[in-house]
C-alpha cells in the first residue's frame, strides 16, 4: 500500500490511536515492572512514540524493521498482538518468543519484524543484511534500521554504512536521538552532535527531523522510503526525540533535572501535539478521542490480564529452539 497523504484525518486519528497504545502499553509495563511481574532489563519508549508510528505508516507490510532492545513499540506498530508482547515481558509460554527472549528479544518475521537486539549497535549490520537479502532476491522492499544516538558511536555502524553505500542497499538508517546514551548526554560523548551528517563520508545523505512531531516524521519518511525503494541506495535520518523515563527501569535518572523533562512534556509531547492539532482543526471532537482512550486502555488491560494469567513456559522449552534438524524441526 502507498502511504496516505498526511492531511488525511483518518490517518492522523490512526497515528493518535497507535501512539496512545504505545504510551499506555509502556506505562502499564512500568507499573507491572514495579510490582515485580516483569524482570530483567526493561527499556521503555515513552516520549519517542512519534518516531516509530510515523515511520511504520510509511512502509509496507512486507518491508522489514529491526531495532535495539528498546523494542516493544516497534513490535506493537508492526502489528504484533499486545497480549503476546506483554506475555513475553512476564515470561510466559504465550509470549511472542515463548518466554525465552524477554523485553529485549522479540521477533515476528511474518510481520517483517526482525527484533529486538540486546547488544548496542549489533542490529545495524544485521539490518543491512536484511536489506542485502531484499536486493539479492530482487524484491522492491526496504529495511528500517533503528538505533539510538548512543549506538551511533559503535564501529560496526560505520562498517555497515560503508558496505550499504558501496552495494546500494535498500536500507534506511534511523538514529533515534533521545539525547541520552544511558546517562551520558549527547554533548558528553560525541565530537559533533549533528548525527544526520554521520553517513556523509560514505555517500549516505542524511536529514534531521523533529521526532516529536508525528506528521513531520511521516512526511519525511514517505519521501525517504520512496527514494530508497526506487533504488537510490541507503539513506539516514536523525530523529530528534526524547525519552521521558530512564534508560531502563533500573535507571534513577540523576543526570538531568525533572524540570528538563517537564518542559519537554509540556511543549513537545507527540501525543498532546497531535491531540491539539486534531481538535483545533475541527477534524474530530474530544469525545471521539476519549473513546479512543477508552479502547486503548481496554486493549492494554486485556494484554496485562493475559500476561498475568497465562501459564509459565513448559519446562521442556528449556531445551528446544537450539538446533534444527534437516526438515527445520527442533533437533
Amino acid at each position: 500500500m502507498d502511504a496516505v497523504p498526511a492531511d488525511d484525518t483518518a490517518l492522523l486519528v490512526d497515528f493518535y490511536r497507535t501512539m496512545l497504545l504505545v504510551r499506555r502499553f509502556e506505562e502499564k509495563v512500568g507499573q507491572m515492572y514495579g510490582m515485580g511481574l516483569i524482570g530483567g532489563f526493561c527499556h521503555l519508549y515513552i516520549g519517542q512514540e512519534a518516531v516509530v508510528v510515523g515511520m511504520d505508516a510509511a512502509i509496507r507490510a512486507d518491508d522489514a524493521v529491526i531495532t535495539s532492545y528498546r523494542c516493544h513499540a516497534h513490535a506493537l506498530v508492526r502489528g504484533v498482538p499486545p497480549a503476546a508482547i506483554m506475555a513475553e515481558l512476564t515470561g510466559r509460554g504465550t509470549g511472542i518468543s515463548k518466554g525465552k527472549g524477554g523485553s529485549m528479544h522479540m521477533f515476528d518475521i511474518a510481520r517483517g519484524f526482525y527484533g529486538g537486539h540486546g547488544i548496542v549497535g549489533a542490529q545495524v549490520p544485521l539490518g543491512a543484511g536484511i536489506a542485502f537479502a531484499q536486493k539479492y532476491q530482487k524484491r522492491d522492499n526496504v529495511t528500517l534500521v533503528f538505533f539510538g544516538e548512543g549506538a551511533a558511536n559503535q564501529g560496526q555502524v560505520y562498517e555497515t554504512f560503508n558496505m550499504a553505500s558501496l552495494w546500494s542497499l535498500p536500507a534506511i538508517f534511523v538514529i533515534e536521538n533521545n539525547q541520552y546514551a544511558m546517562g551520558t548526554a549527547i554533548g558528553r560523548a560525541k565530537a559533533g552532535t549533528e548525527l544526520c551528517h554521520r553517513g556523509e563520508a560514505f555517500g549516505i545523505r542524511g536529514i534531521q527531523v523533529d521526532g516529536m512531531d508525528v506528521v513531520a516524521v511521516h512526511e519525511a519518511s514517505r519521501e525517504l522510503v520512496a527514494r530508497v525503494r526506487d533504488g537510490e541506495g541507503p539513506m539516514l535520518v536523525e530523529m530528534q526525540t526524547y525519552r521521558y523515563r530512564g534508560h531502563s527501569m533500573s535507571d534513577p535518572v540523576k543526570y538531568r533535572t525533572r524540570d528538563e523533562v517537564q518542559k519537554v512534556r509540556e511543549r513537545q509531547d507527540p501525543i498532546e501535539q497531535l491531540r491539539v492539532r486534531l481538535i483545533e482543526g475541527g477534524a474530530v471532537d474530544d469525545a471521539a478521542l476519549k473513546a479512543i482512550d477508552r479502547d486503548v486502555k481496554k486493549t492494554v488491560a486485556e494484554a496485562a490480564e493475559h500476561a498475568q494469567t497465562s501459564p509459565e513456559p513448559d519446562i521442556s522449552e528449556l531445551m528446544t529452539d537450539i538446533m534444527l534438524d534437516a526438515a527445520g524441526r527442533n533437533a
Partner: protein
C-alpha cells in the same frame, strides 16, 4: 577414485551448492577477484558473477553481521574469514546474533549460515595468526562446529554445512589446503556429527581432528613398527561430538589419547575425556592422556614453533604412557 586437494574439494563443494541453490552466495575478503587469499574460491566469480561472489572491505565485524542478517532474511550465506583469527572481530555477531537468535525468538528466526576459513597454526606467522578456535566455538549451544581433515571431509562436510539450517562454524587448515587425498565418492554429503575411523587398531584409541589426524597417523605408523596397533579416530565434527564412535573404539582398545592443536585448558581434549568418563569410564584401563599445544602464545622462531605444536613423537610418548610400554 579421484585424487583431489582439500582446496579443490572446498571449491567444488561451494560451486556445487551454489549451482543447486540460488540462495547460496559467498562473501568475504578477496573471495572474488583475487580468487581467495588461499585460492579456495578459484573460478567462482567467473561462474557465478559478482552478485553471488562478493568481495568485502576489510570489515569482519560488519560483513559477518551483514551475512548473518541475510541468513535471518532467508538467504544461505557462506561467509569466508581470511583466517579465523580475524573472526574474533566478529565474535559478538557470531555468538550473540547467529547462535542465540533461534532460541531467543522462540524458534521464529533461523540462521542458516556457514562461517568458514583457515583455523589453527599456519607456518611461522606467530601468535596473532596462529590459533585453534575449536573449543571456543564448541563451547556455544546453537553452533555446529566442523573441523575437516581430508578432501572427502572437506567436500562432504562443507556441502552438508551449506544445507544445514543452523549456523555452522567450518574450521579449515591452511597447511592442509594443498594436501592431496584419494576421494572415493565425489558426490558425497557427509553427516555432521559423525566421526570416522581412519586407521583400525586394537591397542589404543587416538582421537584427533583437522591436521592433528595427520600427526596421529604418523604416530600410529611409528607405533606399529614396535607392535603397538593404534586406532585413529578423525572427529570431523567438534559439536555435536560423536561420543558413540569414541566409546565404541575405547571398548575395544581400553586406552585413549586425544590430540588437539589448541591449548589443553578447557579444550577439546578435556571435553572428549569428560564425555568418555560419562559414557565409557568402565572401558578405561589407564588414565586418558592429552597432547596439545604448549600453554603459551605461538612463537615465531622455527625451533620454538616446532616445540609448541603437537608432534607425532609426543603422541607416541603419550600412547606408551597409557599403554604402560
Amino acid at each position: 577414485m579421484v585424487e583431489m586437494t582439500v582446496r579443490q574439494a572446498l571449491r567444488d563443494a561451494m560451486a556445487e551448492e551454489m549451482r543447486r541453490d540460488e540462495r547460496v552466495f559467498l562473501i568475504g575478503e578477496e573471495v572474488a577477484e583475487y580468487q581467495g587469499a588461499y585460492k579456495v574460491s578459484q573460478g567462482l566469480l567467473e561462474e557465478f558473477g559478482a552478485g553471488r561472489v562478493i568481495d568485502t572491505p576489510i570489515t569482519e565485524h560488519g560483513f559477518a553481521g551483514l551475512a548473518i542478517g541475510a541468513a535471518m532474511a532467508g538467504l544461505r550465506p557462506i561467509n569466508e574469514f581470511m583466517t579465523f583469527n580475524f573472526a574474533m572481530q566478529a565474535m559478538d555477531q557470531i555468538i550473540n546474533s547467529a547462535a542465540k537468535t533461534l532460541y531467543m525468538s522462540g524458534g521464529k528466526v533461523e540462521c542458516p549460515i556457514v562461517l568458514r576459513g583457515p583455523n589453527g597454526a599456519a607456518a611461522r606467522v606467530a601468535a596473532q595468526h596462529s590459533q585453534d578456535f575449536a573449543s571456543w566455538f564448541g563451547h556455544v549451544p546453537g553452533l555446529k562446529v566442523i573441523a575437516p581433515w581430508s578432501a572427502t571431509d572437506a567436500k562432504g562436510l562443507l556441502k552438508a554445512a551449506v544445507r544445514d539450517p543452523n549456523p555452522v562454524i567450518f574450521l579449515e587448515n591452511e597447511i592442509l589446503y594443498g594436501a592431496s587425498f584419494d576421494v572415493s565418492d565425489v558426490d558425497v554429503v557427509l553427516e555432521i556429527g559423525k566421526a570416522t575411523i581412519e586407521r583400525s587398531g586394537r591397542d589404543v584409541t587416538i582421537v584427533g581432528y583437522s591436521i592433528t589426524v595427520s600427526r596421529a597417523l604418523e604416530a600410529a605408523s611409528m607405533l606399529a613398527e614396535d607392535g603397538v596397533e593404534a586406532e585413529v579416530i578423525n572427529l570431523r565434527t567438534i559439536r555435536p561430538l560423536d561420543v558413540t564412535t569414541i566409546v565404541a573404539s575405547l571398548a575395544r582398545t581400553n586406552r585413549l589419547v586425544v590430540v588437539e592443536e589448541g591449548w589443553s585448558f578447557a579444550g577439546v581434549g578435556a571435553e572428549v575425556i569428560a564425555a568418555v568418563c560419562d559414557g565409557g569410564f568402565d572401558h578405561l584401563d589407564a588414565p586418558p592422556a592429552r597432547v596439545s599445544a604448549a600453554d603459551a602464545p605461538l612463537p615465531y622462531a622455527a625451533s620454538l614453533e616446532q616445540a609448541a605444536l603437537p608432534r607425532a613423537d609426543q603422541i607416541v610418548r603419550a600412547v606408551r604412557d597409557v599403554c604402560y610400554v
